[in-house]
């Protein structure tokens, strides 16, 4: 019953299709480019492994094993570049593959970390990644030195060739000997001034596979005998599954069965399953259609009474009550109470989903003695641990396959969502490969959301119009009173703002909700950046200051901030004297070790139609290893945040989110997308910062500040689409 004709034929045709796909292949004439394959987790290496990170083929090809995921942020290319830089090998001889996650766990975290989040790959991981390349290079030199009877210092390693005097050999010739070399001391990594490859524009390795449909994502996994599952978890988080009536759908075509999945009692952590029902069939569409027809009864409990308005009212109430003081300065409160010139405002932002373009999915195959997992996770090793735990097998028996990710944005961190457990559980019960794919509606409703948040900010101004004291109070909604992504993020941005205000006081409330939350591209700064950077615009204008000059004045003595803000002034042509209906706005936020400042230019028609014409971003991430990649991340992050601020906003009614697809939860589209211009103002030296996230947070406040300049209307909540921007 489970193997209808469709799936048998499908399998036969797939194998033909796959082979055909590979034959079509493509050898793109990319001058001097390294490469990867469309399935870079299966690429065989013929070569000799010098260390876990790289192997050298007899023909000189260097295969670099990338422990991180590639979700469009350029991680695969960045790792390959950093190792090639140290190894000193021609870029055209490099091929990248994904590292084996099972091996990583088996060998006690051999790749240090597979975590791919927090913009950390270059910023935080470059020391050990570059070290792996440097170490391989020195081993190759040492092997040649021993063979030639010369000191290592007299051997040069350059572009894949070892030389000493008249002697010459390729790296490949000494690869085996190098693997056995033990160095007395590991070499230091190179300084930026000695780079020959880093710092140049390089086309990302994954791009050729992403223009012909050959790049393989987890959702594309197809295995012999595989069945498909559509799932529905309690639409109100943590509701109880009471019953479902399988009889109603069991005779539909291709149905394998319907299964209940249960939340682990008492556990409300990030990747834990909710009560859910899964319908399994021989194709996903058949499973999904049957699931939609399946009668299901739930008990939603008290959470069914919660909606956006109730949460908002609760936030407002708590903004009036003393919170946990994370920066206590009673004198700030006294100064504000005594001042004649005080500016006070309240800001609020809603829940937002990640909306990765690839809806959440996972494929797991449980067999005796071996389990395989294909998961779009930002940490392959965590996916293995989750599956091992769910199936009840040792980690060493679980094999993770790293696929390209159709977006991550922090939502696929720590093994992603409950989907991996769901697939593991179903495969365990069915004893065959199971692919679980969440519909877009499920993907949004069951996502771990970016928490709703609010803040009240007050400041008193001195005689020169500059603030003397500031007092801020933030509210952050997160599951279980903020054990999940609460404390750090609630203070981020506001409490960490760079402005030199003599007296600063900050409090926060972490409020419990039933909504699971998680990291989300630029956690904390993504919500609070808008609040603080809009508020300081209010302060500057109330004090009679030009908002950009105000920021320069208020960061005096901080060289990196000065460099970024002055570069923004020069590149953006920021001005405050445009005619009504046109406006420019600026904002600057630091996160992930990087300062990013943005200037937005907008026009607003009399009837209130907003056009964002252009966004100029200036960033200081210390060093840039691939300018082309860094610029792409600035362009992408700017659009990403503008999208939420303009069109986003999850709407909760009756305890559940009701706008769960692109018809009601829209994203920025090409016809509204501004031009984004990227510049760097780099500190260099010891400073390194991340680049995947920081360009986002300053964009919404820059646009809101520009809207104020154009219309005189101050926007204190998002999305912008809910505000009337008309003017007369």
């Amino acid at each position: 019953m489970t193997d209808v004709n469709l799936s048998r034929r499908a399998l036969i045709q797939t194998s033909v299709g796959a082979a055909g796909g590979l034959l079509l292949g493509f050898h793109v004439p990319q001058a001097h480019a390294a490469k990867t394959e469309s399935r870079p987790w299966t690429t065989p290496t013929k070569g000799v492994e010098v260390n876990a990170w790289l192997a050298i083929d007899p023909d000189g090809t260097v295969t670099i094993r990338v422990p991180h995921t590639e979700m469009g942020q350029g991680g695969m290319t960045s790792v390959a570049l950093m190792i090639a830089e140290e190894l000193d090998v021609e870029w055209s001889k490099v091929q990248a593959v994904f590292a084996d996650a099972n091996r990583h766990l088996r060998n006690n975290k051999e790749y240090v970390t597979m975590f791919t989040a927090g913009s950390q790959l270059v910023w935080r991981q470059h020391p050990h990644i570059m070290q792996a390349g440097a170490s391989a290079r020195e081993r190759l030199k040492e092997a040649a030195a021993q063979a030639w009877g010369v000191p290592r210092a007299q051997v040069a390693a350059k572009q894949g060739v070892l030389t000493s005097g008249a002697r010459r050999a390729t790296y490949a010739e000494f690869a085996s000997a190098a693997a056995a070399v033990k160095l007395a001391e590991e070499p230091a990594i190179k300084q930026a001034k000695d780079w020959w490859l880093l710092g140049k524009d390089v086309l990302r390795l994954d791009i050729p596979h992403k223009v012909n449909g050959s790049a393989q994502y987890a959702v594309d996994t197809r295995l012999p005998g595989m069945v498909y599952a559509a799932v529905k978890a309690s639409p109100v988080p943590w509701g109880k599954l009471k019953s479902f009536n399988f009889e109603a759908i069991k005779n539909r075509p291709g149905i394998v069965g319907a299964f209940e999945l249960r939340a682990v009692p008492g556990k409300r952590g990030q990747p834990d399953m909710q009560d859910a029902v899964a319908v399994v069939a021989d194709s996903w569409f058949r499973a999904k259609t049957a699931l939609d027809l399946l009668p299901v009864e739930w008990d939603f409990g008290e959470s069914a009474k919660v909606d956006n308005a109730a949460l908002s009212a609760h936030a407002k109430k708590m903004l009036g009550e003393t919170g946990l003081m994370t920066k206590e300065e009673p004198k700030a409160l006294e100064a504000i109470a005594a001042s004649k010139k005080v500016v006070t405002a309240e800001y609020e932002r809603p829940f937002e989903a990640h909306l990765r373009m690839e809806p959440i999915n996972a494929t797991v195959h449980v067999q005796d003695g071996r389990v395989d997992v294909w998961s779009p996770t930002q940490d392959q090793s965590v996916a293995i641990q989750l599956v091992a735990n769910q199936v009840g097998v040792p980690e060493k028996d679980v094999f993770g396959h790293t696929m390209f990710l159709g977006g991550g944005f922090g939502g696929n961190g720590a093994g992603g969502t409950a989907v991996t457990r769901q697939a593991a559980e179903l495969s365990k019960r069915l004893k065959r490969p199971v692919k679980v794919l969440w519909s877009r509606e499920e993907d949004v409703a069951q996502d771990k959301q970016r928490p709703m948040s609010a803040a009240r900010l007050s400041a008193s101004l001195g005689a020169n119009g500059l603030p003397e004291a500031i007092s801020t109070r933030a509210v952050w909604f997160s599951l279980d009173k903020a054990n999940q992504w609460g404390p750090a993020t609630a203070d981020y941005g506001i409490a960490t703002m760079p402005y030199i205000i003599p007296l600063r006081h900050h409090e926060r409330h972490n409020l419990d909700t039933h909504v699971p939350s998680s990291t989300h591209r630029a956690p904390g700064a993504n919500q609070t950046g808008f609040m603080i950077e809009s508020f300081v615009d209010e302060l500057a204008l109330a004090g009679g200051w030009n908002p950009l000059d105000w920021r320069i004045e208020m960061t005096k003595g901080k060289d990196d901030w000065q460099r970024v803000l002055k570069t923004l002034k020069e590149k953006s042509g920021y001005r405050t004297d445009l005619k009504k209906g046109e406006g420019m706005g600026v904002a600057a936020v630091e996160c992930h070790g990087t300062i990013a400042a943005a200037c937005a230019t907008v026009t607003v028609s009399r009837r209130g139609q907003l056009t964002v014409e252009k966004i100029v971003v200036v960033a200081d991430c210390g060093h840039v290893i691939n300018p082309r990649g860094a610029v792409e991340q600035i362009e992408g992050a700017a659009i990403y945040e503008l999208s939420h601020a303009w069109h986003g906003g999850l709407d909760m009614r009756g305890g559940r989110f009701v706008n769960t697809n692109f018809d009601s939860y829209n994203l920025l589209r090409i016809d509204q997308a501004p031009e984004v211009e990227a510049h760097f103002a780099l500190t260099g030296g010891k400073k390194w910062g991340g680049m995947g996230e920081p360009a986002g947070p300053p964009v919404p406040p820059a646009v809101a500040n520009a809207i104020f300049a154009a219309t005189g209307k101050r926007i204190r909540s998002t999305p912008f689409r809910l505000h009337d921007l008309s003017w007369a």
């Binding site: 791009i207 012909n212 449909g213 194709s283 991550g408 362009e635 990403y640 090409i670």
Partner: protein
């Protein structure tokens, strides 16, 4: 009921409910996974293919409706990734995560077929049905202009 399909010039016969969306026939029955699922309600464009040369959202197209018509997917746009849009996309470096890009490329190719030198407004109109979560829009615009040059050269 067997339905006869022509996909990328190859004939297929699938025995499936006639209302099944073409998207799922391509992905699950035939194994052409380059065409992606993003929303299932015709609002994101990830599933865009050509039906008799027209850009069409395959998630809302019943397989029975394309019987006897010529369907082209991203895998069949060219034999060797040499379509001007594919060349331009590599040159400009359009894709980030890449998940939306099969749909973007199919929409762009259909646009250029109709309007070899599209105006900005024509680009916006033709491409507004394709969401890119990674925000590659300005490179998509640049890619279309570059592809237009390559075709005209």
């Amino acid at each position: 009921m067997a339905i006869n399909l022509s996909i990328n010039g190859v004939s297929h016969s699938v025995d499936i409910e006639p209302e099944t969306p073409l998207l799922w026939v391509l992905r699950d029955a035939i194994g052409l996974t380059g065409t992606k699922y993003g929303c299932g309600i015709s609002r994101c464009g990830a599933c865009t293919v050509h039906v008799d040369g027209q850009a069409t959202k395959s998630c809302q197209t019943a397989v029975s409706a394309v019987a006897g018509k010529k369907v082209t997917t991203i895998e069949g746009l060219s034999q060797d990734s040499s379509h001007p849009v594919q060349q331009a996309w590599r040159e400009v470096g359009v894709p980030q995560c890449g998940y939306c890009q099969s749909g973007q490329i199919m929409s762009a190719a259909a646009l250029l077929q109709k309007s070899p030198k599209p105006t900005d407004r024509q680009i916006d109109e033709a491409m507004a049905g394709n969401i890119c979560r990674c925000g590659t829009y300005q490179r998509i615009k640049a890619g279309i202009r570059r592809a237009s040059q390559i075709s005209g050269a």
